[in-house]
Amino acid sequence: MSELVGEIQTATSAAPPERLNFSYTKRPGLLKLTIVNFLLSIITLGFYRFWAKTNVRKHIWSSVHINGEPLEYTGTGMELFKGFLVVFFVLLLPYILAVTAATVIQGPESPIAVLLQIAFFLAIYVLWGFAVYKARKFQLSRTNWRGIRGTLVGSAMIYSLLYFGSMLAKSMSAGWATPVMNTVLAEQITNDMRFGDAAFKFKGRAGPLYPTYAMCWLLTLVAIIAIIVIFVGSSTLTDEIKSMFDPDTSPDTIAEIVKYIILAGVILFFTFMLVIPMLWAIYTAKELRTFATYTRFDGVPFTLDATTGSVIWLTVINLLLIVFTLGIAWPFVQQRIVKFFVDRMTLEGLVDVDRIRQSSAKMDRRGEGLADAFDVGGL
């Protein structure tokens, strides 16, 4: 009894609020992990991907340090595998059975078979946001820092409906609803985010995004019109192509025309694969910066130093990594994405960390089945 009293008396008082510094410290072993994951995935005909994802997350999470303490990924491959099994047996298999039965009995063009297929595609669109939300929730609840885990406390169904609505609004407004819808979606999911009992808050208007959006949209339009004017508007090209098949045309002229066609192809490729995506990196960077300042953790705002150049560099190198390794290097792509955010993110104030209590939210026992089935992007 006297010992206990002594302990309470000597208990140090909690540390004062502190600045949180984020850093990404590369650890050795990611290449080995990538190779082993690849080999095991082949041996197991792809079944290993749930464990592969888990190993990579463990590695990347533990490379992220906040004030010297690393993050920890506590999820398991089995949880992801079970998530996959549930989606397969509850959603995919019944659908395949129903469609096959309808096709065999009623015919492939029968109303019921067609209706089933339409319903399935509609379900994918409606459930897409659900998959995004559930995957985010799973990952947060498996992320520990100083023994405390994160979570999402809201409804995946509401987010899913919002997400579906945003897809409709974006397509019906020729893209112009994008800043508003992205803001609404970010607000919805960020306000549900918790670390322990400490909350994230998102507050801000889409208005400041519009000048940049309008510029990117108009420049894209200009680029497309320019292409149309150059290739369709000038009838000389079509005439020249026709003359290629004229027996009177000399081989030299044909060679000349072929050069033109190749040049045209190169210009088209560069416009649509490079110029336009790079143009949109301006908006992406602006949105990332803006949303960071709209986000607060425990009342303290973030900033994210995302420049257009850095977004382009991140995307282009990631694309090349995927293309030239046929996707095998995906762990490095994920590492680059996480490192991008961690290196450029700052929390502009002091947080009373010691006060934060463990989250009381229930943890899902399985994870990411839908996100896996849809191949939803992200980590």
Partner: protein
């Protein structure tokens, strides 16, 4: 040996300085706000594989949310060296688990595939509602006959009725069927789901007497009786489901493709034997001369250019599908099994010569 470490209790984000002692097979630690705690070393887990120069993070079965972070390298090395379960990384157990699940998954898949191809179809066929059988039968007929028109004259109708009536004399359970003639060149007859039998103009023209056509009809009735077409349909649907499950979606409308038809209308050798046995039984009981069937069988093989003892060559899918005598190896044996009527039984006359002529000229 006593060292300093950091402790997170998994309930608050606050860190606690603790003093850790290793006593035998236990670690015990305590700090200013941490009461004395003892963790068995066997119950410890490493969060990450120990990396030299990096703090070593461990937890315990008793308190999975708690973390003990040790920086003393000598202490870590000592602890890990004597307890290999803390080394982390790839373990045989982990690998075994993954391979086990993979093998299990593949075995389950192969098992389902085997069932879907063998035992199940015949079982499920019996459970299909009659309306389903009818509708799928209509579909198969539509894609089978294409643009060929259906032929029916009062004479052909009465001839078909006469054949059914003759076979019904056997007293066996004759399934109720819809028998239709289609204006097609190929020499063939098909049993289709829902109790439909299709006879081609080519087959009727090739037959030289009513016994031959009636024999073929008896054989097809055997398929209908045993629900072979329905079983084939289920087998085919099962294949589609398996293909869909592998590809992760619907595998499209193979039902109406030639390959799909070939799958549906090509029976297993067991099914052909069952249909043969049924035909022989019915014909003997009804006193219909089985030699008609035998003759047509041989005629058909000659037509196809099959020499006795030689495997038939495969031609296009539609030519070989569901031939009355499904021309795969074993055909010779099946011919041999067809015996004449037993002594004392006189073959009945199934229809008049006029009826037979009407039957052959149903398509004009």
């Amino acid at each position: 040996m006593s060292i300093e470490a950091i402790y997170f209790d998994g309930e608050m984000a606050r860190d606690h300085a603790v003093t850790v002692n290793r006593v035998g097979s236990n670690l015990s630690f305590q700090g200013a706000a941490v009461p004395a705690t003892t963790w068995s070393i066997s119950g410890l887990h490493s969060i990450d594989p120990p990396t030299p120069g990096q703090p070593f993070r461990i937890t315990h079965d008793n308190k999975p949310g708690a973390r003990l972070i040790i920086r003393d390298q000598a202490f870590i090395d000592d602890l890990v060296a004597q307890n290999s379960h803390l080394k982390g990384g790839y373990s045989w157990r982990h690998l075994g688990q993954v391979l086990g699940w993979t093998a299990g998954g593949l075995a389950a898949f192969a098992g389902l595939g085997y069932l879907a191809m063998t035992v199940l179809p015949q079982q499920i066929a019996g459970l299909l509602p009659h309306s389903w059988r009818d509708r799928s039968g209509d579909q198969v007929i539509t894609s089978l006959v294409g643009t060929a028109k259906r032929c029916e004259t009062p004479g052909s109708k009465s001839a078909i009725a006469a054949m059914v009536a003759a076979l019904a004399e056997s007293g066996t359970d004759i399934p109720s069927v819809a028998i239709d003639i289609y204006d097609m060149d190929l020499v063939n007859a098909f049993a289709v789901p829902g109790g439909h039998i299709v006879l081609t103009r080519g087959l009727l023209k090739e037959a030289s007497d009513p016994d031959e056509v009636t024999g073929v009809l008896a054989h097809e009735l055997g398929h209908v009786y045993h629900l072979h077409p329905e079983a084939q349909l289920v087998r085919f649907a099962g294949l589609q489901v398996l293909a869909g499950a592998i590809s992760g979606g619907s595998s499209g409308d193979l039902v109406t493709s030639a390959a799909g038809l070939a799958t549906i209308l090509r029976y297993t050798r067991e099914a052909e034997r069952e249909a043969d046995a049924y035909a022989r039984d019915v014909m003997v009981k009804a006193s219909v001369d089985p030699i008609g069937l035998k003759r047509f069988f041989e005629k058909f093989m000659k037509l196809e250019g099959i020499k006795p003892g030689e495997p038939p060559q495969e031609s296009s899918a539609l030519d070989t599908i569901g031939n009355v005598f499904s021309t795969h190896p074993g055909t010779q044996d099946r011919i041999k099994e067809i015996q004449p009527l037993p002594a004392g039984k006189t073959p009945v006359k199934i229809m008049t010569d006029e009826q037979f002529r009407d039957l052959q000229q149903a398509c004009g």
